[in-house]
């Protein structure tokens, strides 16, 4: 059974129908890249899976549980993490407090230990634990957002354009981190504009355009197929 199964998903934002009959599956322990142009419906797809769209229909099953009837918070509690596009580091809170937010639902009591543990994988955060999160650079904030989403060890993480607007050296660092996560058994669904980077990371790739799935293959095959890339992903 797949970790995430999406069947005939439709989603609306107000009057506009932004995701059309979308079906795909993500197996446990793989990285899947969801690519396509700006406005193709990638972000809406993630939001619909996470329970943040005003209206979504169809079937989404995560680890055997049907998601659509559940609220966003219940989906997180099933082990589904999410890093939104705009990072959303909570202003007024320190890095440590932002990380602690990732633990509140898990009800873990050993907060200090969990934060020490995650800080080892994120050396950039380690030295800034007591700094206000929003005063860090964009790349560091992105790292914090990812750390916050995985600190409770979710089975799967949805990532919305993690590399956007980030210095190339940090993007490389992030790639290493994602591979490590996958090797530890975490499933990743990655929405990206930086197609080459995403395809080098991912095992499989799905292209959506105008809210519909138009292509699905191994990431390597898509990486080699410049035509398809140009048709659907060119910026």
């Amino acid at each position: 059974m797949a970790m995430l199964e999406v069947e005939k998903l439709n989603a609306w934002y107000g009057p506009s129908h932004v995701v059309h009959d979308l079906s795909f599956a993500v197996e446990e322990g793989e990285i899947v890249a969801l690519v396509g142009r700006n406005g193709a419906g990638k972000t809406s797809t993630l939001r619909a899976i996470m329970g943040l769209m005003p209206r979504a229909e169809g079937r989404v099953a995560f680890d055997g549980t049907s998601l659509l009837p559940l609220g966003a918070h219940a989906r997180f509690r099933l082990g589904l993490g999410y890093v939104p596009e705009d990072r959303r580091i909570v202003p007024g809170l320190t890095v440590r407090e932002n990380l602690e937010l990732g633990l509140v639902a898990a009800g873990r009591t050993d907060v200090g230990a969990a934060i020490d543990e995650i800080a080892r994988s994120f050396p950039r955060l380690k030295e800034r634990l007591n700094q206000q999160g929003t005063t860090m650079s964009g790349g560091e904030q992105q790292m914090l957002a990812i750390a916050r989403a995985i600190i409770s060890r979710p089975k799967m993480v949805l990532l919305d354009e993690p590399s956007e607007g980030i210095m190339p050296v940090l993007v490389e660092e992030m790639g290493t981190l994602f591979r490590t996560l996958r090797d530890q058994g975490t499933t990743l669904l990655l929405v990206e504009q930086n197609v080459e980077w995403a395809l080098k990371l991912a095992g499989r790739a799905i292209i959506i355009d105008q809210g519909e799935k138009v292509y699905e293959s191994s990431a390597a095959a898509l990486l080699a197929d410049k035509d398809i890339q140009d048709r659907y992903c060119a910026v």
Partner: protein, 291 residues
């Protein structure tokens, strides 16, 4: 005019201000979290006072009233959030405001039906009557008690917000409900609790205020306007602002009463107008946060 009189008046302003702090805190906590202004807040203050009156009459104890009434009215507040306000999330921000405003009418009229339209005196328990000598002068014991209770509540609130996990959730949820949702927090339930807390605070203010003034169905109207003045001066959504501005207004009113009694009710509005001119976001408000 001797110093003792001024001190006494200052102190009486502190007690008045302490009540305002309770009301304004409730208002501003709910606003900070849910982004709505509860126009029934004054009416719930009044209902709190009546609930205190009723509990005291049933049990014969002011202490039970002080404990039970705020909790009961807080639960009523949760019911209001759940059944009346929740359907309005996602609509125009004016809608919850208008609804609670209509609710204020219903509450006032219901109290009139149940308890009559005339004011009812409510006396402080005997243990708290009389005056106490603080070295610099004699102060009414009950007012001292009010200031003490409010200080205690503020301390508890501060600890709860700054030192506990619940507080962390509340602070973060006030800034960004969406991220709390995707981190597994049931934001709807959080809002329910916070609304109940805000209403409970104003009800506590009502019970505390009851022995200092007549309990009447109209007592909430003035308090609502006062709480608005305090929040505008302090800065909407700022808890520190509510405390500072509440005490400031209480003292300003009571000092004016000493020197120019006819101006006492007017001075706070003048203070608000002044703040609007020089600092429209309030003393502790963030620029752009509504102003």
């Amino acid at each position: 005019m001797d110093l003792e009189l001024i001190l006494m008046q200052l102190f009486s302003g502190l007690a008045l201000g302490a009540i305002l702090v309770m009301v304004a805190l409730g208002l501003t906590i709910v606003f900070g979290m849910l982004g709505i202004v509860n126009f029934a807040h004054g009416a719930l203050f009044m209902v709190g006072a009546y609930a205190g009156l009723w509990v005291a009459a049933q049990t014969g104890s002011f202490w039970w009233a002080l404990l039970v009434a705020p909790i009961a009215i807080g639960v009523l507040g949760m019911a209001i959030e759940r059944f009346l306000i929740r359907p309005l999330y996602g609509r125009s921000p004016d809608d919850p405001l208008l609804l609670t405003f209509g609710l204020g009418y219903v509450l006032v009229e219901s109290v009139r039906i149940t308890f009559g339209t005339d004011g009812i005196p409510f006396s402080a328990p005997e243990a708290l009557q009389g005056v106490v000598d603080l070295g610099v002068g004699y102060f009414p014991l009950y007012r001292l008690f009010v200031v003490g209770v409010v200080a205690l509540v503020l301390l508890l609130l501060w600890v709860a917000l700054e030192k506990t996990r619940f507080g962390l959730i509340v602070r973060a949820g006030a800034r960004d409900p969406l991220i709390m949702k995707v981190l597994g927090v049931d934001v709807g339930r959080l809002w329910l609790l916070v609304f109940g807390l805000g209403v409970g605070l104003t009800a506590l203010g009502g019970v505390l205020a009851a022995p200092m003034r007549n309990v009447s169905p109209e007592m909430g109207t003035l308090v609502l306007a006062e709480a608005f003045v305090v929040t505008v001066i302090g800065g909407m959504g700022s808890l520190l602002g509510a405390v500072v501005a509440g005490l400031l207004v209480g003292i300003a009113v009571s000092m004016t009463a000493l020197f120019a009694p006819e101006m006492a009710t007017i001075v706070m509005f003048a203070l608000m107008a002044l703040i609007l001119l020089v600092r429209p976001q309030g003393l502790f408000g963030r620029p752009g946060a509504g102003a």
